[in-house]
Amino acid sequence: MVGRASLALLLCVVVAGPAALRAQAAADGRLPLQPPPPSGGQQNVIPFMEGWYANEDGTYTVAFGYLNLNRDVTVMIPVGDDNRLDVAEFDGMQPTTFLPGRQRGVFSVTLPADRVDEDVWWSLRNHQADGEVMRVPGRTNAIAYELDWKLRPQGSLHPLVWFESSSRQGRGPRGIVAETTPTTTVGSPVVLSINTRDPSERDPDDYRFVNAIPLRVVWSRYQSPGDVEFTRHESNPLPEPEVVVDSASAAGRRAIARNNNSPGPQSILLVEGHGEASVIVTFSEPGEYIMRAQVDNFRAVDSASNDQCCWTNGYVRVRVTR
């Protein structure tokens, strides 16, 4: 009996294992245990629906993000047949520059109340990959995908953002688009700035909130016909290296890691939880660009990208001529 039982177990593994593996090819065609191929932009970009918001005015906002499976290559897919929203009136505001990895909630579309049952499909095709169209529906029918504007358990809220030229404020992935369009020429630097304030309501008796939670602003290219170079603005000096007291301690190791990974010029930390975040940008090609600023309070214990809260998008169009 013992021998039969052991043999049966062994057979189960032998038979079930490879069959299961064959049936479970990953989205990019790899088998689950197959190592990823060298990345050179040949992997797909996967569109994601992050979820939907029921707005106070009766409209619904659907947030989208993406996963660029290329670990270290930015992929460009212009708006058109290979990068489109199939409801034409929403088409055009999606990204064309896809940074490596998972980027959550980079844009949204807002449906009128009487079109809440409508699907908005986002389709992407990276011709450097296998040419397969990756698509996802934006829809509001599943409660499991509902997002909201409410206070998080430790008081976090989406940061408020605005541009100097406008009195309007944006909040959440829907964010705000600057009303003015700076103009520059190829190779001539231009300063881009965004203002922000953290409206979060935190318990002052909690030691974690004795000091303000810094806001982080990260500028990136969003729609870009050419390359973009970021230069550190004078208001965003390189942080002084931290003094490492005990390199063997956990705190010491963290300090060393921070010293070795100083944020780039496009990343600005507003330690007081409010202020203006500026970066100098130089463009390589003429054309119409959109630059995106993501403002987050991810240093709070109840705010994180994979928790779907809390950050806000700000977009600036830039016209670049020769």
Binding site: G3, S6, L67, A142, L147, D148, K150, Y207
Partner: protein, 460 residues
Amino acid sequence: MDLQTRSARSGASWMGAATLALIATFALQGGAAAQATFASADGVDVDVTYAKDVASIIQKNCTVCHRPGGIGPIDLVDYEDAKRYARRIRRQVANRLMPPYYYDHDIGIQELKHDWRLSDEDINTIVEWVDQGALMGDPDDMPPPADLPDTDDWALTPDFGAPDLVVPSSPIDVPARGLDLWHRPLAPIGIDSDRCIKALQVKPSGDAKGVVHHANSTFMRMQEDGSFVGTGDRATEYAMGKLGEVIPEGVCRTLPADAWVRWDIHMYPGGLGTLAADAVIPDNVVELGIWLHPEDYDYEYKQDLVSYMFMEGQHDMLLPPNGFEMTQGLRSFDHPVRVDSFQPHGHLRLRAASLEIFYPETGRTEVISMVSNWSAVWHQSHIYEDDVAPLVPTGAVLVMKQWFDNTSANPNNPDPDQWVDYGSRTADEMSHFWMAVTHLDDEGYERMVEERKEKAKVIS
């Protein structure tokens, strides 16, 4: 015979001790299967009645949840209740959906602590009772009323009494709709010396039962400047439906001196079901009950609870729309260990999970545990009985597999057209196993292997 030959050739050090556990399990299972067959065959000619045969099964296995104030959606307190829901009861127990303890009964280790599964004999009795018309029978055959604990009591109280320590989270209001919440308060414990934990249970109180998806509790210590750092010890993990954890005798899971609990409570507003969209459940509290060993408790080895991820790390998982994915995690230790418990973790698309051990010296693989019908609503920590908990030699590999179904065939799937990746929300996915592991040395491992070999000889 095969195992004895191998053992004589090269000693027990390489031999899968998990195999020994399985030997004992299958030997014991033989009896249970025979009983079930006997009952089924006899059932055709023997009247099965509620009073004589069924009431005791329902009292023991169902009524604790299915009663006024319980978490079950229907009451199963008396004959009228059972008669009214007879067809539903038959369907649920025959398909092993109730009681909600999802663990395959025909493969791997079967001897588990706090195992809620019905025996084959009990299942056959209920099926036969319903098929014969769900008769009451002679009231004089009724068992005495069950002495049930209060629905808000600690489930481990019958085993250990009241907990020595109760650490509550701060209260939080949970809206009926909206984005999942992650509540991360800090709470003091009030113990000034290191202690060994005997058992733990996390208990959402009141309406929190319906909204707490999971609650992790980690020990932290306050620094002189008022900030907190982790001690490196985890108290426990709770997920919806989980009973608790019982630490085996002779080992210690440490509660550090002066520790605080750092809660990480995931609340899922959608769990409130049919409430109005603007409704709010106020003041939800989650409590951690800790049972302690005496201060002079003598132990040999340390145990910890760790989340073991799949191979590439769960942040790399990606489920295509209307498709499937399998993840696989591998883990080995540079010392022998005993796996005391196994609990797969995932969200709405997880359907199945297995734990195997691969022995590099022989190329053998053993299935230790398998859950083919995993449910996000009922997380259980499957605690192996002390005599069968898998003993894993140095270098052997724990193989942790999970299967995800993002098709419409998965009844829990909120939208099969979506891409799904790692995330904290219930709508996103995770892939890991919680396992309580006792860290042994060679001497202790070999002693335990020998003890089990002796026991296996006695059984056979």
